[in-house]
Amino acid sequence: MGDSMRSLNSFGVAGLLGPDCEVFYTNELRARNVGRISDLVSAQIRDSNADELRIRALLVYGVFQTYAVRNSIAHHNEAVPAASVEIGIDPSYVAVAITFHWDGKASPKWKGMPERVDSGQGIDPFENILEWIHRHSTQLIVRYEEKERRIEVVALMNRSDSAMKDPTMVVQVNSATAPLLEVSNYHELGDLDYSKLLRNPTATAEDVKVKGDEPSDMSKSVFKADSPLDSEANELRGLVAEYEKVISGLKTTVNGLETRLEVEMNRASERHFKSDARVTDDSVITVPESKPEDSEKKEDDWGFHFMKKVWPFSKPEANPEKITSESVPLDSEASVSEVQTFKPDVTDDDEITVVEDVNEDPVIATEASIASTQALGEIAEIAKGPNSKKMETTLREIEKEVDEGKAKRWVDSLSSELLQEKAKLNELQKNLAKQIRQRELEFKTAERSLKQELKRKDEVLRGRESAIENKNEQIAQLNLAVERAGAATVDKEQGQIKMKLDRAQRMAQMKEEEAKSLVVKMRDLENRLIIAQAKAQKGTDLQLTSKVQTLEKKVDEYKRVNQRLMESLNQTKDKSSDKEMGDLRRKIEQLERQSTETKRSLDKSAFKLKELQDSERKLQTDLARAVEENRNLRKNQGRGSGESGGGQAAA
């Protein structure tokens, strides 16, 4: 299971990756655009070292799943709705989640699915494709919700350990209880710079990369050759092609000259036969018949007019023979032995001149010129041949044929010059190739280093930009929170809440003051109570009690005196006088008055006692009330300080 997994009870990759993950998504994954989407996604996440093959395969599997879950044939069908795909990347994992719906006809069989998929015993096409997904990922998680027939197939891939495997999980999601999960950023694929990511590289001369790390690795050079002989042959072919171009030009002029020569020769012979005019020279000259101008002759005739000009020698008149009128074959099949020797008419120093004007006196075709043309023709034919060996053999034959000495020297010089030039060209080519390879290697290394630096700088810039964006967002959030806390006049509800807070604070202060006063009263009452209790224990009023006792004593004495007096009165009714009776009566009345007064005082003291007792009870009840109010105030103060968020109420 992924270490950064935050919640399985949610759709999307956010629950399976860390909060710093980036998510790329699109809601239009179909069969006909899965390639385009996989191209763009692969280009975007290439720097993350994610396995591109797996990601492309997973996207394709996802499309197949949209068909398989409907029990449809895996054949493109526009009626199958598009799937949504999210690809998330965090430092540890890459997650590919494909979401779609199943039809009401048949739902996948969820029970036992993980075991079947892990053991490779899928029972339907949907599970068979899940097996493939499981093979190509670290972990496969299938989430579903019955109510909306949602399915999400998520493939997790560990970026550092591709061989890691975790068991498949199938989770039923309750979206109503799914948590809210934050990610670093969501990118819709349309917001990416797709033109830059998918740009085709333009191939230029500088961009052409030559394989081979070592300059001396000739086997991988551009100028590849199977064998040295073939390379030489190719070079010779090139040279021959160049010579052919020059020679073709010469050929045309030679043809023209020959035709003119023939015409003039014929005219001269006619004149010779018609008239008796002697020819200055006795040599019997026949002009070879001009050959019919066919394409083969045109191809075989080479323009060697410049060579004729510079032909330094002519054949000596060793064996003057009759020049026949037979045409001298000039094709390549003619052997050298068939070439007849001609009587040399001119010396070596004679130059072959070309008669341009036909109306002038005809130019006599000298033996040397004829021999030279024939030889040149043969050389041309041989040079056209594919093999240099043939060229060499013909050169030797020519050497044999023609006079030794100068001819040989000329041929040798020509061949040596050719070889020298060939060698020079080879050297130049090799040097050029070496230089090209060196330059290419230098450019390649410089390009690599520049690209790496650019990549590093881009990464640093991106990191800084993302950090700046995060900080800006945090700052915006903090500003908003501060504004909300400090704004006094914008929101009415805030004002009301503040009003309520002020009132509550004032109430709390008032209650505190009341509590303090009540506490003071309570203490006074307590003191009074203590005193009253003490008095009640000792006696409410000592003076009163003493007075009561004395009065009681007096009452008793008076009662006794009264009884004695009454007895004496009864005994001495006769004996007493009226004065004594009056005195006694007066004394009795005084005593009675005193007794009533003492009774009244007793009543008063009793009443005072009752009053004190009542006051004591009141004090006790007040004390209890004050204690309760104090407790309630303290409770309210504690709640009020928690709600207002400040310590003012507590203070």
């Binding site: 526009e78 969501y186 819709e188 694929l189 349309g190």
Partner: protein, 298 residues
């Protein structure tokens, strides 16, 4: 939906666009109130409010029975209708063609659609974020856009909904329209699917029965639906602004926040003027601050 310009002077007729009775589509929600010219009273009187509709019978009766005009707010709605038609065309680029030309990739179409939608957002003031560029669009115009883009809701359902509760009908239309408008920003580019979801949303709100085909909805669209229900709580016009998604961390709001960030930073024109429904060029309603003053004075 409240609108105060229920009567207009006859002179206004020259400025108004006539309603095409002959070619009008029945059951399509009207983008603006429709007025009829009463020649005797020399007044234009509204016969239908915004987002109401004519039935086929109504249209038959209206033919030859007078001259009908759209309200002045149609001029402000027209850019949204045009954008809806262009978006529909863009969505059609993804259809496989009969030729051998490769059709546009979905990300290219999504980018093109977002660029078009960006022209509909305008800078608005925000008390919560005075230092940030905030963009907004009024719900009225978002719904007009969605009505033009989507396929029609079946006529019998529309009639049933209006008869049951006209206010609830308007709320359902507003919520489903805002839902479609925002779903486009999330990259949902199938008109049929969007129309089906809009119909399902409408159907559930009106609590109609008989929705025959089940239209599955993804979780993020379900979240968007809930968000829309919270936002649109009455049939009155309100502002949809980018700062509403700033601090929520549900998946759909994070995605909308990201896309609208690109709209406001890269695509939206800061000179765009917000299309609104106030004053005589709109529905004749007062702005919220003016309305508050009026209430206070009253």
């Amino acid at each position: 939906m409240q609108f105060k310009t229920r009567k207009l002077p006859k002179s206004k007729a020259a400025e108004l666009v006539s309603y095409p009775v002959d070619t009008a589509e029945p059951y399509r929600p009207l983008p603006a109130p429709v007025y009829v010219l009463l020649s005797r009273n020399e007044k234009l009187v509204s016969v239908k409010g915004p987002f109401d509709f004519f039935t086929a019978r109504d249209l038959e009766r209206m033919k030859g029975a007078g001259t009908y005009f759209y309200g002045p707010i149609l001029k402000r709605v027209e850019p949204f209708h045009l954008a809806a038609r262009e978006v529909k065309t863009m969505i059609g680029w993804s259809q496989p063609t009969a030729t051998r030309v490769l059709e546009a990739a979905p990300y290219e179409i999504s980018d093109a659609i977002l660029r078009k939608l960006a022209t509909l957002w305008a800078p608005v003031a925000s008390a919560a974020q005075p230092n940030e560029t905030v963009i907004g669009v009024e719900s009225y115009f978002a719904v007009a856009f969605a009505n033009e883009l989507c396929e029609l809701i079946p006529g019998d359902r529309m009639e049933m909904a209006r008869e049951r509760d006209p206010d609830l009908y308007e709320i359902a239309l507003l919520r489903s329209g805002v839902f479609v408008f925002l779903a486009l920003h999330l990259g949902y580019m199938d008109v049929k699917v969007l129309s089906a979801l809009r119909y399902r949303f409408f159907h559930e709100l009106i609590q109609l029965t008989g929705l025959q085909t089940f239209v599955p909805i993804s979780l993020e669209l379900a979240e968007l639906k809930r968000w829309t229900e919270n936002l649109v709580h009455s049939p009155e016009v309100l502002m949809i602004s980018s700062d509403q998604f700033q601090f929520s961390i549900s998946r759909v709001t994070q995605k909308l926040k990201s896309r609208l960030l690109r709209v406001r930073k890269e695509l939206a024109d800061p000179e765009t003027i917000l299309a609104h429904t106030y004053d005589d060029g709109g529905l004749g309603n007062l702005r919220p601050d003016e309305e508050a003053k009026e209430v206070g004075d009253g």
